[in-house]
Amino acid sequence: MDPGFLLVQSLSGLASASSLFVIASGLTLVFGVTRIVNFAHGSFYMLGAYIAVTVVPWLLELDRSPWLFFAGVLLSALAVGLLGVAMELLLLRRIYKVPELFQLLATFGVVLMVQDAVLWIWGPVDITGPRAPGLRHGVEILDQRFPAYELFLIFVGPAVLGLLWLLMHRTRFGILIRAATRDREMVGALGVNQALLFTATLFLGAFLAGLGGALQIPRVSASAQMDLSIITEVFVVTVIGGMGSVTGAFLAALLIGQLQAFGVLIFPKITLVLVFVLMAAVLVVKPWGLLGRPEPAAGRAALPEGILHPRRFGVVEGTIAMLAVATAFVLPLFADAYTLKVATEVLVLALAAFSLNFLVGNGGIVSFGHAAYFGLGAYAAGLLVTRLGVPMEPALVAAPLAGAFFAALFGFFVVRLSGIYLAMLTLAFAQIAYAVCFQWVEVTGGDNGVVGVWPSPWAASRQVYFYVVAVCAVAGIAAMRHVIYAPFGATLRAARDSEVRADAIGVDVRTHRWLGFTLAGAAAGLAGGLYAFSKGSMDPTLLGIPTSVDFLAMILLGGIQTVMGPVIGAAAFHSIKDVFMPLTDYWRFFLGASIIALVLIFPRGLGGAYGKLRGSRPVQHA
């Protein structure tokens, strides 16, 4: 290949890297200081682009000068920064005390609300912004034409890096950010006004996201899907770089930019998965990213977020559980077909959510990619039925086995990490599985998925299939619930509370976590198999990030501190969705608002709220 082409291709990579870095630096700063994984960062990026395509043309009407263009870009970024402040004041400030996962869920609620707000304000048609005056042309580089604006972008990244460095090392605010990133409690102890620091950090983070979005308008049109497409990529950059490390994010962005620029030449079809393979590889070798630091050792004695004291059922709970099971089993006698369908789905989701909480609540293993095992279970069952003509019964046995197999495979690497990096590795593996299902068209049917996955004739009616699901789900939940109370479940809790202590009493923490991961994968796989037969089809969205987030939302709504919370959460979440979807096109707005309201009103989830109502005497020996 000629050198001119290689150079230009590499410049293209640099331009992408530069844009990516500007956005990622904001996310990594916010995470470093607040420890919040801000899903809404992508929404800020999108808002930056939308505000810019509104403001910049208006300014250019006055005078088509490059200065006004960049003034408009900065103005948009500032506006987004203020929106970040609003989010901090109105939402985050109220939830710093609630478990970190709830904060994540709340930011996801913001994502949903912003998506629909953008549709409402700007309409559904993509808006193409103006190009930058004076930078419309191409520049000849070794006989190749390269856009002048992208040359400019290449310099923006290092400039932002330099400015951030100055800010972090030359100002009191920056020094506080660095201190907070290293040790959050220390800053609190120093008597710094933490609230102000957090507000300012959110401003800076949102500003950078908005800047990244506004700078994109000469390249891409503002569209309502740009938030989620950027957020995964930005997560990858910050994780590869090391959460909280701005320089790391810069290096990671460079790496990814070049990987994509040259990856499209060699693997034009698997660009979707390339970055996640890179992330998984980096995390396996460097568990804290390129320049990240290990989370400060758990020197403090803080209660873990999760199931604290798995309470046995009292008379009231026992009655409720009996009634719930009894209701489920007589439901087909009086419920209409649709109610039955929804009930079937709730049971399936309850099983999946319960298995996730077995990891998150009981084991402290926060998985962002639990949908992978759900989806792989569905695929295993569905492919057996459609490709090999296997009947439903053995296929439903294969589903949990497939879930367990892949959970064991991925879990082997996952349990070597901890905290946010563990979560991100689960996400990476889930995305890899997603991409394989998406792109291995010959076997998986690609994004169209596979249809024709219907139950055996004896179970084909809605009523009978409901009983099949009810028996499997109730048995699965009861079995896992039993394990929570069994020594294995207690051991996982012990390892979550104190890995050092567990190790010192002779527990092989990694192996136990791995086994726990596998068990949860099996249960999720079973749920996936049941789901496929209830829908008649499966497709890659079952493994996608939104499905994983739905599962997380369910267990958080239900309460990760409680054993049975996820079941309540699954029912609540699915019902909210089912109620709002037929009512309005803007159902995502209401779903997001409901999630935020629940986080604010029930910061311990519905199950936790119930526990409080019942007055939790945590340890009662029967």
Binding site: A486, T491, S498, A504, I505
Partner: protein, 260 residues
């Protein structure tokens, strides 16, 4: 007879020597204290014996079996109990459940999917708690206990492994003076009645001189003195170290004295 034999343990972190050629023996029922100024290498030595750190060189032998570099869980199964400078407990559990958990691990039943964890080894746990004087608190969440009481529970947790050797890193750190003496007395009496060797580090000299059978003085990663409390108290170098002469110079002299 020797319970624990440590031979020539060394460890460097980057360019810093944290332990150099540390050797000592410990017998059953014996209380051996490691003392020294901050950064003397006490914790490093400790973690090398307990398996949290792998030594660069040297050997750790427990009752004739080499345990050098084996992970803590393996060391534990060979009969070593451990308490930490900052108490490490299972915060979500009750006092009794903490000890029960250790007994479950001791019995190798952590992968049991069927039994009820709460019902397992409760009597054994209560007996151990009784021994450390915490029987009455058995069903309280451990997070509610005063720190001194947590340390006692941690001792019971360590004892659950039926250890022949107890490693106690700063057992009385963070405790009120009166509680300290109580805990040390308790440890000493348990050690004697069960013939458990106890290796501990300690800042509180009163506790050390009142309860240790022998004392090692570690400075800059090296042993500068070893012996009974009386011998150590009388040692000129030790006096200098604690009177303010820098540990480094004392250690240099000590090396000259021993090697020269």
């Amino acid at each position: 007879m020797t319970l624990l034999r440590v031979e020539g343990l060394s460890k460097r972190f980057g360019g810093v020597v944290a332990a150099r050629d540390v050797s000592f023996d410990l017998g059953p029922g014996e209380m051996l204290a490691i003392i020294g100024p901050n950064g003397a290498g006490k914790s490093t030595t400790f973690n090398m014996v307990g398996g949290q750190l792998r030594p660069d060189s040297g050997r750790v032998v427990l009752e004739g079996a080499e345990i050098t570099g084996r992970p803590p869980r393996a060391v534990c199964r060979l009969g070593v109990g451990r308490t930490f400078q900052v108490a490490q407990t299972f915060l979500s559990m009750s006092v009794a459940q903490n000890v029960q958990m250790a007994l479950i691990a001791r019995a190798g039943r952590t992968r049991d999917l069927f039994a009820q964890a709460d019902a397992l080894y409760r009597d054994g746990a209560l007996a151990l708690l009784d021994r450390v004087g915490m029987r009455s608190e058995a069903d309280r969440p451990i997070g509610e206990l005063a720190y001194g009481d947590v340390k006692r529970v941690e001792l019971a947790v360590a004892l659950a492994a039926s250890p022949r050797l107890l490693l106690m890193d700063e057992p009385t750190a963070g405790m009120a003076p009166r509680e300290r003496a109580g805990l040390m007395q308790l440890t000493a009496s348990i050690a004697r009645e069960r013939s458990i060797g106890v290796l501990f580090t300690e800042h509180d000299m009163d506790a050390v001189f009142a309860h240790a059978d022998r004392i090692l003085v570690l400075v800059r990663g090296e042993i500068i003195a070893a012996g009974t409390p009386e011998e150590v108290r009388a040692d000129e170098q030790v006096k200098r170290v604690y009177l303010g002469t820098t540990g480094h110079r004392a250690a240099l002299r000590a090396r000259k004295a021993t090697h020269g």
